[in-house]
Amino acid sequence: MNRALRLIGRRAISSIPVLLIVVIGTFFLLELASGDAVDAYLVSIGGGDAALIEHLRQSYGLDQSALTRLWIYVSSLARLDLGWSVAFNRPIAGLILERLPNTLYLMGSATALAFVFGTALGILAGARPGSLGDRLLSIGSLALYAVPSFWLGLVLSVVFAVQLRWLPTSGIETIASGKQGLERALDIIRHLVLPVSALAMIYLALFLRLMRAGMAEIWRLDFVRAARAKGLTRARIVLRHVARNALLPVITMLGLQAASMLGGSVVIESVFAIPGFGRLAQEAVSARDAPLLMGIIVVSAVLVIVVNMLIDLVYAVLDPRVGASEAAS
């Protein structure tokens, strides 16, 4: 446990400069984009005269230099204040807290689903590399992996929501239904089925392929031969030796995917009208709301860092070799 705590401590400290780089990078990237928050707002209201524009720039603080604004932002961030969103005219912390759970539900369930089924099918495929089952699963996963997630989302929506009407087309819960407690939870789950499936399928394919490839590699290793020389059955070798060892890189990938899943959820959230983080980010960009976007990115980065810390912990539990070098020194 001591080993784990040290790991976390080190990660936490090393993530601060990462966050700073991310914030500054985002700020200047958005600064490079043509047009500012006032331009975006003017489009949304259908235009305004010069005096209004002047007034808006002033009240948004856009009359100050970029460096001043960045300094104001970073120093308020250091006080854990995420600032004010000009696009939504609300405190950013509240906005993020409102949207974050939806995305976490979406990503969490999609990741869990993709991981569980992906690795399970990967084990099935990797148990007998080259077999018919392996080939079918490999082709299937490749096809799935090649499909864009928004298209998959639309197809699922047309079939299961529009045609069969088994599930709702979009949204996170039935609007203004007044449902509470368990009933509301079930309602949210019903709404999440399609978007989670759409998001999960693609990552499922990824995990499947990764697991299969890892197993194919492990099969060639000597300890597997040693296990066979002990007279173990194939099933036992697959589960006890091959799958377990092949799982490690998949778990590393799970951490890496946390970031890309945040990106993937932008599309899915838009298709399924889920008020989540990805959509908020999209709105922040199109409204040129730099503080909001930076807030989103900071929180996302923290999220990714936390997920990867958890992954490291899990990894340390699963792989006795991790941290051994430190223990020795």
Partner: protein, 535 residues
Amino acid sequence: MALLDVKNLSIRFAGRSAAEDVHAVRGLSFAVEAGQCVAIVGESGSGKSATARALVGLAGPNALVEADHLLLGATNLLAFGPRDWRAVRGRQIGFVLQDALVSLDPLRTIGAEVGETLREHRLVPRTGIKPRVLELLASVGIPDPAQRHDQYAHQLSGGLRQRALIASAISGEPGIIIADEPTTALDVIVQAQILRLLSELKADGRGLILISHDLAVVSRLADHIIVLRHGEVVEDGTPEAVFQRPQADYTKALLAAIPSGRTRGQSLSGDAPRSAAASAAKAAQPVLVASGLNKQFGQRHVVNDVSFTINKGETVGLVGASGSGKTTLARIVLGLERPQSGTITLNGAPWSALPEHRRRPLRPRVQLVAQDPLGSFDPRHRVIDIVGEALEIIDFPAAGRRAEILRLLASVGLDAVHLLRRPRELSGGQRQRVAIARALATRPSVLICDEPVSALDVSTQAQVLDLLAGLKRDLELTMLFVSHDLGVIQHVSDRVLVMNDGRIVEEGLPDIVLEQPRHPYTKALVEALPRLPVG
């Protein structure tokens, strides 16, 4: 009745057509009796490992195993299906693989690995597994079995791992143990211990099949030696017969290729006889002088007050077990590691004390030939790129580069056909030749050879050692030769340094140090060295 009777065994790997079939082994016959050891010896590609695997039904899905008969006691193994094999493996035939680090599942404890056969075959009740595993660990000489039981492979030394593998192989009380290169990755001292353990198993009445590339290793244990070459039996007989009266030229060459003190100054491969040119005759002219080197990693004193000198045209052998600090010392000499105290001078000028930006222009003067050239070459580079890059570093004129590359390749026995090959398209010996050519390209003052022949077969090793000897003579090469193999060291060195626990414990002429060792560690090292029973 023999425990295992093999008659006219042939192993074929099916290719796309019959013409592409590969015959790994043909016409191999032998029998293993209780308390006897059959050794199958050969270089890589001889079919010895394929034989070992075929005997437990693990030759692979593409392998065609045929024989007049293949009997385990009275059972015909040729008729076996997967289920039958599973019943045999572990219980009647135990298998010890070569590299213990990769032969133990890294994610499972030693106890789980060793007890797996017991659990799988339900040989003892569930609650009895742990006590039995502890017994087994103790029986193969693992100290403190209760602690080791819950540790993982990476926490054990190579010798302990190999012992654990043997414990695992004998856990099902099989009558036959097949050991495939059980000591290859080990130090001499540990190797001697493992061989002793195997001989104890033999003494217990088990039949032993020992697979090795090293005739010396099997010489003490075997009752019957079979020498394989390209799948064919070239020599078959008792140790005396094989060692004293070898019949096949191959066997003779193989025996002659084994380096030792006696072979110094002679050709090992037999193709380039050379005179024992007197390098020592010249006045000593120090090239590399190390004094008072120290290096600590945390609490560990890896290099402890080490001083030595290498004179021009001299080969200094550095020998020691793994963990003795010889690799770190080599890295310090290369300027890859900075000593905490002490200095190295090169041709009288500072070397280790230089800041990196001043050392970098001088780096061509110290070159390395490493153990595994495959790992030190960019797999996408061709030979011409690999050697050319070294020339580029010393700003060799571009116009003459190709000619110089060809000259360097010729000096290591390669020619223009190899220019465009990539590392994977070369044999192990050829790769090591390219590595030497690359090292020589910069005309170094000192060549560091770090276990340059450890990964090679005996006959290839002989060729590379001969090549180095020839180069030394012709170019007056100054070398630091690092190896764990006393024979090799004794063969190549003008002077020997013995290293243990970070210290140079003994230094002197090879014959004196290795024939009349004074330090206890050197003594142990020399005693552990397997020797051919040749007159």
